[in-house]
Amino acid sequence: MLVETAAYASRWRGVAPSAKALFALAGIAAAWIACRPATLAVLALLPMLAALLGARVPLRTWLAVARAPLGFLLLACATLPVGPGVHGNWQWNGAMVPVAVHAGLRALAVLAALLGFVLTTPLPDLLSLLRRLRTPEVLLDLMALCYRMLFVLRRAWDDGVEAQRARLGYPGWRHGWVQTWRSTGLLAGHVAQQVWLRAAALQVAADARSYTGTLRFLPAAFPRARRQNALALLAGALLVALALGDRW
């Protein structure tokens, strides 16, 4: 997973997740406040530059991660001005163009803020932040287990695919999609069984370490969190001020 790899490699990996979250939230709020396309474009650019220059996220990574949502955005915005007219025939509707431009740029700005966060913060850091924010403990346990088991199950899946390929399991669509489907179904069923087996094994392993009913871990310490939060707050305030400029 590209996002996850980039987050661990980022230069801001050691920055307190609360600071990065504050900056991202400010970016989202600013995008929601701003109205002029130019301001929105600047609001999209700033978090992107912060990620690329500040956290040294490679441009290629940024673009590769953004490609899928940008595709959706392009499709959705390009088709907004096209629609069925009064007679049911599809036609161009110029009145929707500004709506599409505004929605598109706003989405871009919010996306940039989110990417700035996720490309610099490994998910477990966010989980420890959520723990401090008193998220319900059931939800935290679900997230912690889900994150860890994600990699375990994906490994099981990849190994299964490889083992099936070694036994001619995927002849390709044209040569035998029935066989390909059969392979996929067998593997999905197998990994589904693993869900039960692994859950039981984890339960036993947790019990052996005096499990008390909730999964408690010692969160990572971010000693300079206070200073970093203040800086993030300042930078975020600038973004919001920029956006507020549109309203006055």
Binding site: M1, V3, V86, L153
Partner: protein
């Protein structure tokens, strides 16, 4: 089907978040009740969430020859009940937004409503109805997963149409537009999701 990050206007984003928060709170209460009776299910839900995420990140064969990403919510609803799927779906959708940039944080509420509330409840309802009508297990599972998927897609189209009504034709015209565009991809996905769910349920049943 995910609405991308930032695409919904603020009022809609916040509104859907509030709606989904209510469902999430109810789902968490139901899950906490369940966990008090079956504490061992805590691990199970966590691993199941990872499995659902894995399925959603996989490219799976679809009948048209293209690839598709199933949602896995139909499967989860059949195995764990629709109420438990709200928290599990929340985790999966949040992880998709954070790890794959698929969906988003501001659109999380809207996406939860379509994929972790409407989808599972429709799938579960269809399954119960099909079972009551005496359909075979495979047919009932297929119908449940397939229709659950289509219901999700219809909900998303509605959410988009409401947020971006057509100035001439209003919401109805907008709905026709969004539903029309996404039908191209969503109908094959619904069918392959149905097929896959049947295969997985059969595998589990023999286990």
């Amino acid at each position: 089907m995910h609405i991308m990050e930032g695409f919904l206007p603020p009022a809609h984003a916040l509104g859907w978040s509030a709606v989904s928060a209510c469902f999430l709170a109810a789902g968490l209460r139901a899950m906490a009740r369940d966990l008090r009776q079956h504490p061992e299910r805590r691990m199970l839900f966590g691993v199941a969430a990872a499995f659902a995420f894995l399925l959603s990140a996989l490219k799976l064969p679809s009948v048209t020859g293209s690839c598709s990403h199933p949602t896995g919510v139909g499967l989860g609803a059949l195995l764990f009940g629709p109420a438990a799927m709200v928290p599990v779906g929340f985790v999966v959708l949040l992880f998709q937004a954070l790890l794959l940039a698929h969906g988003g944080v501001t659109t999380l509420g809207a996406n939860i409503f379509s994929m972790a509330v409407v989808g599972p409840f429709v799938a579960y309802g269809v399954f119960r109805a099909a079972a009551a009508l005496g359909m075979s297990r495979s047919a009932a599972v297929f119908a449940a997963a397939c229709l659950g998927d289509l219901a999700t897609y219809a909900t998303t189209s509605l959410q988009l149409a409401w947020a971006f009504p057509d100035p001439v034709g209003g919401m109805a015209a907008s709905l026709a537009r969004f539903a029309g565009i996404f039908a191209l991809t969503q109908v094959p996905i619904a069918i392959s999701e149905g097929l896959l769910t049947v295969l997985v349920v059969n595998a589990i049943a023999r286990f």
